[in-house]
Symmetry: C2
Subunit: 614 residues, 2 copies
C-alpha cells in the first residue's frame, strides 16, 4: 500500500477524491507499509522458531488451571508457576468457525472470533472434560508464563485482572472480496466518507483480493434500542449493500468472497500487565481497539518483543529480575496512547464528514489526515520513546514511570545519565535510527540495524570519529584498554563458559576515509582473534561512500561529534545510553545497575545467592 | 564482492596494493556481483522446478545409447530421438571423489572433475553393466534432447562433434580455506602478482571461507618436460606453500580446509552447437576456459536460457521450428568472444608483471584492469548483442550470422526492420534496460524487468507518451483498435483454448502525470475484463515519481520520443523490435515471420500441416 485516497461528498453529496496522502511517511524507515495475511506472519514466526531451536508450537492445548506459589516468586531458581494443560482432540480443537453460503459456495467467516460472539473458552473446556481420555492432561511447572491469549484472555481472568474501557456504538462489517467495480481507486488504500450512509475503508490485498471495512448504519442494528448488534441479521449481502450505498454512484459487487466478519469497536486497556513479574499479559489480552489502523498485531508483537529478551536475559542468569518491572512501565504507556489515538481515529472514521468549516459536528478532513499520519508512527513503532529506567539512562526518576502508576524500579546507587545533547540524531529511549555503513574489511554496505539482530546481545557501539587524528586514536586506545581490563563489564558480566561476545558485542564505526586504514589499524578488542577462524572481520565499520548504494552519512544523520561517542543499544535496538568516548567507566556503571556478576565456574556454588529483584 | 584490489611488486620486488577497482561497474545493473556456492545455485533451480511443475530431476542415470531418425527431424509431431538410459545403483552413482587427509581430517577434493583427471564416463557405464539389474534400463523417445553434460560431454561424443582449441601451459591450484593471515585485503577480491613466484586470486566467500586460486610454478610440474601436470605431486600443502611464496612478506595459513582442486587451463569451442536442431549442446559441452573470471556457469546458464523458451515455444505449437537455428547463431558467437577474452585474461593473470613501461614481456596493469572490466560485461550478460535474425528485427541479413558460419535462417518475405534511431537508450538485439515504473492503479514501483518474468510470453510494450495529449490519445486508440482486430497477431497466433495473454502480453507505460488519469482512461485491451476477477490492474504503468524509491525516468533513460513507440521484447528479455506507435502492421508482420497460425479447434486436423523449418 503506497497511497491513501480520501473520498468525500462534494457540495451535491456525491463522493469524489478530495485528497491523496502517502501511506508511509517518506523517509521514516527503509521499509514501507505492506499488508500481509496474518497466516503468513504466523508462518514466518513458525519458520524462524524451527530454524533457530527445537521448540515446536503445540495447538489444541488449553490451560485449565493456574497456580502461583507466592513464597517463591523472588527466587531466581524456583518454578513458582503451575499450569494444568488439557490436550484437546482434533475435533474439539477445531474452532466452531461459522460458515455462510454465498453464490452456492460455503465461505468461512470470522464471527466466531468477533466480539459479537460470546467467549467459548469455558464451553471448550467443559466439552473436553466429557471426552476424558488417557494422557489428556499435563502439568507444567514454569518460571515464567506469558498470556498472549487474546481479548477473552483466560490467563487474565485467572489472575483476576481487568480490562478498563468501553464499547463504542459503531458496528462494522468486513468483506474480503475480488471486487468487480468501476471505482477507480480500488487498488489504493481509501477512506470513503459518504454524506449520510457511513464510511468504507478499502485495503488492497494479495491475489486480487480487497478488504473492505464497511460501516453498518442503524438499519442493520437491532430495532429494540440496544446498542448491541443483532448477529443474526448480519450476512455478506447486507454488508455489501451497505458498501454499495456508501460508494454510489460507483458500482461494486463480487463473484469471489474469501472471508467476512463483523464487529463492534471496543477500546480497553488492562489495569496491570503482570503479576509478580512472573505471569505477563501481552497483546489483545491487555489492549483492544478497532482493527482499521493496522495496530492490533503490530503493537502486540512489540509487547512481546519488549518482554522476550528481558525474560531470556534473566532466565540465562545474565540480568537481575529487576529489569522485568520495565515491561509494564514501558508497554502500558504505549497501550494507553494507542487507545487514546484509536478513540479519536474511530470517531473521525465513523463520523459524518463536515459540510463546511461552520459544520462543527462534522468531521474535519484536515484532522482526519493528521490522524492517519499519527497512525503510521504507532504502526511502525518508531514513535515509541521509553522513559528513564534501569535500562534507559536518561534524566527523570527511575521510579515514576510514564504509564501514570507508581512502578517501583530501584534507582541504582551509581545512576548513569546520558549526555542527551551529545548526538542530535540519537534520542535515548528510542530505537537507534538506521543508516548505511561499510564493512572496513570488504567494503560491503550494511544498514546499521542489520548489524543488530535480535539475538539477546547488548551492543556497545563506539563511534570513533576520524581515527587518523592522533587525539581520536589516543582515546580509542584508552577505551580499548579499559574495555579489555579484567574488571570491566565485558569480563565481569560475561559467563566464563560463554563466547566472548555472547552478552556484549562491541562494534566500531569510524569516519576516516575507508581506504586510508585497514582493520589492523584498530585495537584487537574490535577484531577478536580465534585460533581456528583467524581475525574477526565483522566488527569494524566505516561511514564512507559505497560503490552501489550511495553514502549512508551516519555521522551526519545521527549528529555524531568530532570527538566521537559511545552508544549502548539494548537487545531490542532501543538506545540505553549515549556518552563521550573517554567515559568508559559510565558503561561499566550502567551495566552494574542490573547485570549479574559472573564468577569463576569453580566458585559459583558457594558465592552466588539467588538474586532478589528488590 | 565489492572491490578488486590489485597487488603488485614494488621496485624492491615486494608486493603492495597498487590499485582498487569496483568489482561491479557502478550503474550497469540493479544487481551486484556475488559469490554463491554452485550447490546453492542448483538448489534454487531445483526449488523453482518443484514449485512450477511436476518435473523431478533424476540423478544416477546415465545415457548409454543415442539414435536420431533423420527422416523425422523436420516433422513437428515426431519423436526422432531415442535415448537409452541406464539407472545406476547408489554405489555406482557416487562420484569417485578423491579425498585427502589434512590435519588428520578427511577433505574432499575436486580432482575427479578436473581436466587433470581422465574421463570416467565409460568406466561408469562398464561398471554398471556388470551389475546388470532388472529395470535398470529405460528407453526414452524424445522430440528434443539437450546435452548439458560438461567438458567430457557424452552427448557431444555420440554426435561426433568436436571442441576446437588448446590447453595452455598454466597450472592452477584451488584452496577453499578459512584463512589465518595478516594480509589486509583477504576479504576483498584480489589479484596478486608476485615478482617471480606467480599469481594468486583471492575470492572471499560465505561462512568465513576464502577461495584462493594459486598459480603453481614449474617446481610442482613433472620434471620430464611434459606440459601436463603430475597429479600425484599435487596436494593442499604444496598449493599452500605456493601461495605463501606469492603472498610474502604476509603470512597465510589455515586450520580449516573445506575443499581443494587443481587444473590446467584449456580453451576450446564446439564446432557445432546442434544436430538437426533436435539435439543441442550447451555449457561446458561446447565451451571450456579458465574458471577465474566467473564465466563458466554464467555463460552456460545463459546458453540454456536462450534455448529453453525457443524449444518450449516450438513444442507448444506457438512458433515454427525455424527459430531453433538462432540458438547456434546467437550463442556460438558469444562462446567465441568468451574464449578470445579468456585467452587474453589468462595470459594477463598468469604472466609476470611488467617492471616498468619499457618491459615489453611483462604484463601491463592498465591492460589487466581493462580486462577485469570487460569480464564484468561478459559475466553479467549485458554486453550481449544478438545480430539480425527472424527474432531480431534489425538491419543486416538474416542469413549470415555473426558466429562466422553460414547458418541459414529464411528471410521472411515481409522482413521487418526496426527504426533503431527511435529510442537512443534501447538497442535492438540487447536486453531491454531496466528502470522503475509505477503501477497506474496502486502507485507501486516496479523495475521494468520484474514485469517481464521468464514464462515464455512475448511482450509488446507500448510507450504511449503523454496520453493527456490528444494526438497521443488518438494514436493509442488506433493502436488498440488494430491490436483488437480479428486478424491481428493477438488472435492469429494465440490458441483459442489459451488464456488471452498466454502468448503475448500487452504492457503500456505512459508519462502523463500519474494522478491525472485512472486506468479507465485507457483502452480496454490494456485492462482486460474478466467476469470473475474484474478488471486487470497490472498492465498499465506510468513513468512518474514514487513516494519512496525515487523517479525511474524510464522515458529519459531509454530516450523514448514524445511520439511514443512500440517495443517487442522476447521471452528472454532481449529486444526484437522498436518502431513508431502508428505502425501496428509491422508488429503483425514480425510475428508472421515465425509464429504458427492458430485455427479454430475444429479445423485443426484438416488445415494445419507439420511446419517445416526451411
Amino acid at each position: 500500500m503506497l497511497e491513501i485516497c480520501l473520498w468525500n461528498p462534494d457540495v451535491n453529496g456525491v463522493i469524489r477524491r478530495s485528497d491523496r496522502i502517502p501511506d508511509t511517511i517518506p523517509g521514516i524507515s527503509r521499509f514501507q507499509q505492506v499488508v500481509l495475511h496474518q497466516g503468513r506472519i504466523e508462518r514466518f514466526f513458525l519458520d524462524a522458531i524451527t530454524e533457530a531451536s527445537e521448540i515446536r508450537v503445540e495447538r489444541g492445548v488449553m490451560p485449565s488451571k493456574l497456580e502461583i506459589d507466592e513464597s517463591l516468586v523472588k527466587d531466581d531458581d524456583a518454578y513458582p508457576i503451575t499450569v494444568t494443560l488439557r490436550h484437546l482432540t482434533e475435533e474439539e480443537a477445531t474452532p466452531r468457525q461459522t460458515s455462510t453460503s454465498v453464490n452456492g459456495q460455503t465461505v468461512q467467516d470470522g464471527l466466531f472470533r468477533s466480539n459479537l460472539a460470546k467467549d467459548d473458552t469455558q464451553d471448550l473446556l467443559e466439552l473436553s472434560k466429557l471426552h476424558d481420555k488417557a494422557n489428556s492432561e499435563e502439568v507444567v511447572h514454569a518460571k515464567y508464563l506469558i498470556g498472549a491469549d487474546g481479548a477473552h484472555s483466560w490467563t487474565r481472568n485467572q489472575l483476576g485482572l481487568k480490562l478498563e474501557g468501553d464499547s463504542t456504538d459503531y458496528i462494522w462489517g468486513v468483506l474480503d472480496i475480488v471486487p468487480i467495480t468501476d471505482f477507480p481507486d480500488i487498488r489504493m488504500r481509501c477512506a470513503i466518507h459518504s454524506a449520510n450512509n457511513g464510511s468504507v475503508m478499502v485495503i488492497p490485498r494479495e491475489n486480487k483480493l480487497v478488504r473492505l471495512y464497511i460501516q453498518l448504519t442503524t438499519t442493520e442494528k437491532t430495532g429494540d434500542g440496544s446498542s448491541r448488534a443483532d448477529r443474526s441479521k448480519l450476512n455478506p449481502q447486507v454488508i455489501l449493500e451497505s458498501a454499495q450505498r456508501i460508494m454510489a454512484p460507483y458500482n461494486i459487487t463480487y463473484r469471489k468472497l474469501d472471508w467476512w466478519t463483523a464487529y463492534q469497536i471496543g477500546q480497553r486497556v488492562g489495569t496491570s500487565f503482570s503479576v509478580h513479574e512472573r505471569v505477563f499479559l501481552a497483546g489483545d489480552a491487555v489492549h483492544t481497539h478497532s482493527p482499521k489502523a493496522g495496530q492490533g498485531m503490530n503493537v502486540s508483537m512489540q509487547d512481546t518483543f519488549n518482554l522476550g529478551w528481558k525474560v531470556a536475559s534473566v532466565v540465562k542468569g545474565h540480568a537481575k529480575r529487576s529489569i522485568l518491572k520495565t515491561y509494564q512501565s514501558e508497554r502500558r504507556g504505549i497501550a494507553q496512547e494507542l487507545i487514546a489515538f484509536d478513540h479519536k481515529f474511530s470517531r473521525l472514521f465513523s463520523g459524518r464528514p463536515a459540510k463546511d468549516v461552520m459544520d462543527a459536528e462534522g468531521i474535519s478532513m484536515e484532522e482526519f489526515k493528521a490522524a492517519f499520519l499519527k497512525g503510521h508512527m504507532f504502526a511502525s513503532g518508531i514513535a515509541v520513546n521509553y522513559e528513564a529506567s534501569l535500562l534507559v539512562a536518561k534524566k527523570g526518576s527511575n521510579e515514576v514511570q510514564w504509564d501514570g502508576r507508581q512502578v517501583f524500579v530501584a534507582n541504582s546507587p551509581d545512576k548513569v545519565t546520558s549526555d542527551e545533547s551529545l548526538c542530535g540524531g540519537i534520542t535515548v529511549g528510542m530505537r537507534i535510527p538506521s543508516h548505511k555503513v561499510l564493512n572496513q574489511a570488504d567494503a560491503r554496505p550494511w544498514h546499521l540495524q542489520e548489524l543488530l539482530p535480535s539475538n539477546g546481545r547488548w551492543r556497545i557501539i563506539v563511534f570513533a570519529g576520524n581515527v587518523n587524528n592522533s587525539e581520536q586514536q589516543g582515546k580509542l586506545e584508552g577505551l580499548a584498554q579499559d574495555f579489555g581490563n579484567q574488571n570491566a563489564f565485558l569480563r565481569a558480566y560475561t559467563p566464563e563458559s560463554a563466547k566472548h561476545d555472547e552478552v556484549f558485542e562491541l562494534l566500531l564505526i569510524h569516519n576516516a576515509p575507508r581506504t586510508s586504514v585497514t582493520i589492523f589499524d584498530f585495537p584487537e578488542v574490535f577484531r577478536h582473534f580465534d585460533e581456528i577462524d583467524g581475525w574477526d572481520y565483522n566488527k569494524i565499520f566505516v561511514d564512507d561512500v559505497s560503490y552501489h548504494e550511495g553514502f549512508g552519512n551516519i555521522y551526519g544523520a545521527l549528529g555524531i561529534p568530532h570527538s566521537g561517542c559511545i552508544v549502548i543499544v539494548r537487545p531490542d535496538q532501543y538506545v540505553s545510553y549515549v556518552g563521550p568516548m573517554d567515559d568508559s567507566a559510565a558503561v561499566s556503571r550502567f551495566f552494574g545497575g542490573f547485570m549479574t556478576l559472573q564468577q569463576q565456574p569453580s566458585r559459583v556454588q558457594t558465592d552466588i545467592k539467588p538474586e532478589n529483584a528488590q
